[in-house]
Symmetry: C2
């Protein structure tokens, strides 16, 4: 299998290094051969080439069997709203170029981290949610611009039937292999694009009579996710609402540093932590690499069909946590100092 | 003072009845005279007149000194995405017609409810956030429609400089009277309308050198709100992001049933609970009326400048909670059954 590693910005480099090491260890243990190539994206690519998504990165990605992705972003651009070239264009561009329309974000709490969250353990125990976030449409990709000499700015929130249908089908298929519950999130009481979303999900639902379906408005969903996380099984939603809900849901898993994601479509899959580039801790060697490790596990399972290998990785993470090891973000006041590890040691 | 009561749908009727009783008691105690009128909105107005926002409701509202508002919404429309006339059009319409561009949502935890939340008390103690949600712009009011024979649907997310500026000014003014911290929430790494938002907030910030300003992306904000609610003082954000964050923040206050809001602009103010019409509990007499009571307190303070009167109401709520009384939504497993009250008794 040929893997392209796109580390990107900030802690992306540090955490994907560990993700790759884990893949190597799996290859060794299970007798596979993984070859690697590297490619640039984001701020790193802008610095090197002026372009957040060099053509070469797309070509390499398309020729690979899977992509291990780090993170993009840089504070420089965040504080300069008028910057024309931005790191995030690289990430959005590659999602679009590879047709990665379904972003799977499993939210599963490792027992050992029950105390790491700000949410009470009795509300978390047993929570297990699989998000399907639509990834190549919505207000992210609609026409955007300025008018009135720059004094008015707009972004078009837009969905077409086929876009909703294909992600809904993936979500219902997944629900059938799980607890057979699906929650679709929209804002159909206000938005026309949400009304289309709801219409299409209702239609697809008819093909899955065994799946219990509910529709929630995004505001209510954001509340229920904390109030009662266990009520959710599969959640399917648009690009923007999915961005918000999955970051919020990271608190169910104890830390953003634990959450992996798989972006899939019709061709090569891309595997990336949910967390961002985290420049505040970049270069300090303290970033939690487990989201990258768990992203590698998703790659093994989804892109390579290597179920046992994926389980071995998840088991290893479980063991390490059971042994008491923590990175700073998942440590609490009871963690002995010598069990708090840096990125490399955790790897 | 002349008050228009717009009870609306579902539990709106039950809770505003209590809100109004509290206003009457204040009038009696402090020697004011409050006169009332009623007006229709939402599903109730559709049933009576075919129109979710009858002209008469706007006229009465404009002639009043303040509006006590209940809730709008009906499950009938939620499950029928193709309905052309919808209760929510009444609410959005009145916000627009009265120019209520600033929605203030104070999130303050009553000490007695520290245990009612799914969030650990040690993360909540002392949390005190004042949200400024922009209320008459954004994707709520941009052009919306269908094309491709109905197979594509869109909503324009759009902001103009003056809209951002006037809400930012209100938020900064409030920050100056509080802990002098302001967090502006947007998605400037992806959205052009957010980049304008950030530009304008940065400009307004220059006029308030004493206020410590931070900018957060909506996904990060949704996470931080649960992870560390105490880091926030004043939060200012757009209509859609504000809708989501404030519902989520209701978990900080223990229940949505505790949260009041004030919608203000250049003329008459409108006071409403954050919660919705809650048809699942309508007519059962169990709804928590405290959000309506606290909305009445905001009316006294903001529209009528009656600070002592407002404090008397908040104090009364505090006393009632201290005495152990709870409605179902804020009761926990330790609440004795005889202290769990219905809507009327709580009033
Ligand atoms: C970096 C940003 C553009 C991106 C997004 O909003 O999609 C990130 O938040 C994510 O969730 O992958
Ligand atoms: C009912 C709905 C249209 C409304 C909104 O989204 O503004 C509600 O959720 C609110 O927050 O007041």
């Amino acid at each position: 299998k040929h893997i392209v590693v796109i580390a990107g910005d900030g802690i992306g480099q540090e955490v994907t290094t560990v993700g790759k090491q884990v893949l190597d260890r799996i290859a060794e243990k299970f007798g596979h051969e993984f070859t690697y190539d590297e490619a640039l994206i984001g701020h790193a690519a802008i610095e090197a080439t002026g372009n957040p998504l060099p053509e070469e990165t797309i070509t390499k990605s398309k020729q690979s069997d899977a992509i291990l992705f780090g993170a993009v972003g840089h504070p420089k651009y965040d504080n300069d709203p008028s910057a024309k070239v931005r790191p995030e264009q690289g990430l959005l561009g590659i999602r679009k170029a590879l047709g990665l329309y379904a972003n799977l974000r499993p939210i599963k709490l490792f027992d050992e981290l029950l105390q790491a969250s700000s949410i009470k353990p009795e509300f978390l125990q047993g929570a297990d949610i699989l998000f399907f976030r639509e990834l190549t449409g919505d207000v992210y990709f609609g026409e955007k611009g300025r008018k009135d000499g720059g004094d008015t700015a707009y972004d078009l929130m837009i969905y077409s039937r086929y876009e909703v249908e294909r992600i809904a089908v993936k979500a219902f298929d997944a629900a059938m292999t799980r607890r057979k519950k699906l929650c679709s999130v929209d804002k159909a009481n206000v938005l026309e694009s949400s009304r289309l979303w709801r219409e299409v999900v209702q239609e697809v639902a008819k093909r899955y009579p065994e799946v219990e379906v509910e529709h929630q408005f995004i505001d209510a969903a954001a509340m229920l996710l904390i109030k009662d996380p266990r009520r959710f099984d599969v959640v399917v939603t648009g690009n923007l609402f999915g961005d918000i809900l999955t970051d919020e849901a990271s608190q169910i898993a104890g830390s953003m540093g634990m959450l992996a994601s798989a972006s899939i479509g019709d061709t090569t899959g891309l595997y990336e932590p949910i967390h961002g580039s985290a420049h505040d801790i970049t270069g300090k060697g303290v970033a939690n690499p487990l989201a990258s490790v768990l992203s590698a596990a998703l790659m093994l399972e989804i892109s390579f069909g290597m179920k046992a290998e994926a389980e071995a990785v998840v088991d290893a993470v479980d063991q390490v946590l059971k042994a008491g090891f923590r990175t700073r973000d998942i440590a609490d006041s009871n963690t002995p100092a010598d069990l708090i590890l840096g990125t490399e040691a955790m790897g």
